[in-house]
């Protein structure tokens, strides 16, 4: 397996003493399973920390590793190796679920880069309470206004809808709202992909300032997206009822 990680620390194989990359799952020389090192999901897959990734290659690697790490393979091995196999199999599944999902992967990378969406919000609240000022909203005020307005309209439609009359105009408005939200959701996903390449390029160039700029844009976009996702969910609920 090709190891593309940026780390180059070495460890010795517990069995044959050969030198291996710290993130190696198996000894290059004797093939023995290596202890569970604290690896992030990218390192675990032997991938560089990048947002754009090859889904097919990731999937292949997942199936390859799940076979090789499976606890059944170690049924007759030492208790220590059985334990490692269990730990690694569980980590493998978490890593796979996170990396294959575009949003989960983005959030995970932001977390690895020490950005936590919820904590940002909490910190801003604490700062506001300490200084006695209104909290600086993480979401731009015009987006909040827009989301609030859309929610108001949606509620009006929902109430009219619930009161039973099958108003074709209302139905049309709902369909239009749904299309609008869906289009915004798709647009957000496209913007996210553009930000992935922006971030990856910054990471390739080892440019922390450019990485941070891209990260902040991703945070803003993910925040916006969670509002739109709720609107999509709500309008579908009204139309479906």
């Amino acid at each position: 397996m090709t190891v593309l990680t940026e780390q180059s620390e070495k460890t010795q194989c517990w069995f044959c003493g050969s030198e291996n990359a710290a993130e190696a799952q198996f000894c290059e020389a004797c093939g023995k399973l290596q202890p569970s090192a604290p690896l992030d999901y990218f390192q675990f897959f032997g991938l560089p920390r990048r947002l754009q990734l090859d889904r097919v290659a990731l999937e292949k690697q997942f199936y390859r590793l799940s076979r090789k790490l499976h606890p059944d393979v170690y049924a007759r091995a030492s208790a220590q190796e059985q334990q490692w196999s269990l730990e690694k199999s569980s980590l493998l599944n978490d890593a796979w679920r996170t990396l294959r999902d575009p949003l989960a992967r983005t959030e995970y990378v932001l977390e690895l880069e020490d950005i936590r969406l919820e904590e940002q919000s909490r910190d801003a609240t604490d700062a506001a309470a300490a200084s006695g000022t209104a909290k600086e909203q993480i979401v731009p005020p015009d987006l909040l206004e827009e989301v609030f307005e859309l929610n108001m309209q949606l509620e009006e439609m929902r109430m009219a809808h619930a009161s039973g009359e099958n108003d074709p105009e209302l139905q049309g408005n709902l369909e239009a709202a749904k299309q609008n939200f869906n289009a915004q959701l798709i647009a957000a996903e496209q913007q996210l992909q553009a930000l992935w390449s922006e971030w990856d390029e910054a990471a390739d160039a080892n440019n922390p300032a450019a990485k941070q700029t891209a990260q902040q844009k991703m945070v803003d976009l993910l925040n916006r997206r969670s509002y739109i996702r709720n609107l999509v969910r709500d309008v579908q609920e009204v139309l479906g009822s």
């Binding site: 969406l117 609240t125 909203q137 993910l222 709720n230």
Partner: protein, 142 residues
Amino acid sequence: MAYSEKVIEHYNNPRNVGQMDKSSTEVGTGLVGAPECGDVMRLQIKVNPLTRVIEDAKFKTFGCGSAIASSSLATEWVKGKTVDEALEIKNTDIVKELSLPPVKIHCSVLAEDAIRAAIGDWKKKNVVGGEQVSASAAVAAN
């Protein structure tokens, strides 16, 4: 996860739902959001310019039961308080009153943010040359 009885009570009978005239100088409006869950909350206060007492409060929240209950409770609590007293309300008080579980603490944070934002908006409207209009109005009234 089950909601506490108080949350359910506020959710079923939310207090002070509605809106007030945003453009009135006596009204402060706070619009805040919790991006993590996509909630959005608007809280408005109507302040007596002479006494600085919050005489009325309204809210409208799009979000989960805990967010609705937190804002409903916030409007109840700010009513009758002066703006300075209302600034003392902490999200932890709301958490305690509603027995919110850890995953819903951000709803109470949102309510605290909303109170602060509404008061901030009111203050902004009522400051002339760095001095509170209400203070000079109080002097004039004497």
